[in-house]
Symmetry: C2
Subunit: 141 residues, 2 copies
DNA sequence: CGGGATCCATTCCGATACTG
DNA sequence: CAGTATCGGAATGGATCCCG
């Protein structure tokens, strides 16, 4: 793959074709985490967790009860990935039995700004998307 | 799963615990396309295509050359899904050999507003995420 | 040129069982 | 309570061949 600044010419003869240059590097997998990030955000549970933790810190068991459909395996894994990317932090309290709390970091709160905008858009436009799908499925398949 | 408005109480004794109610319905899979949408956007190629088509319409082969790493199978499939959700449209010109053009719809352009904000954020903060990952990987396994 | 069909590798995710 | 370990099915994505 390798960081590619794709030079983009129309397939019409070069002479009259305006040469446009599009920088797709920003979305290149190997160079930057944009794709990586969206891959992570696009995971089945990540946005749900970010949404929940954007409110206040929660303990593991609380999150689990909030999202009954998540398995503890995926809950652990998703939290670890969010933590690894620096969006949330994990604090262990040495009680017996131990309790663990997860909270957003500054980076996570920063991410939440544009992310919540996108989520709001999605929520506001789900009817349009649904309609488009039904139209497509009717006309085609 | 089923649409769940999760009633969320802290695990501290109910008497003194403030009862908070968090509506996670918006992110429920079965109810609304927020999760669906992010699933789609989180796909390996979708954002790349939306980014490209937000500039101007392109033909199949042009897109293919712009993104050399995509297979024609995934290009076709990704374009179909974006079309199905109403973000792009497809026009066939009855030339010989046939040519097909893809362009953004109004809905697609609307989506691009919050989406590009998120992409910009990701691009601007990739250093922070990278640093967080290295720190995590060093401190842990 | 712009696909469709098929096969295969990888990754994701859920269910279950066990632990400090 | 908050995990870890293991397994198997499902979904995702890539390679290749074929077609009007």
């Amino acid at each position: 793959m390798a960081g590619s600044v794709v030079s983009l010419k129309s397939s019409i003869p070069p002479a009259e074709a305006p040469t446009r240059t599009v920088d797709l590097t920003a979305l290149d997998f190997s160079n930057c985490p944009v794709r990586d990030m969206l891959n992570q955000i696009g995971g089945k549970w990540s946005t749900l967790l970010i949404e929940a933790l954007s409110q206040r810190p929660y303990r593991f068991g609380e999150l689990r009860r909030m999202i009954p459909d998540i398995s503890q395996r995926m809950l652990t894994q998703s939290l670890r990935e969010l933590q690894r990317d620096g969006y949330i932090e994990r604090e262990v309290f040495p009680t017996k039995p131990p309790s663990v709390e997860y909270r957003m970091t500054d980076l996570g709160r920063a991410l939440y700004q544009p992310l919540s905008q996108l989520l709001n858009w999605a929520e506001a436009n789900h009817a349009a998307v649904k309609a488009a799908r039904e139209r497509y499925d009717r006309d085609n398949g």
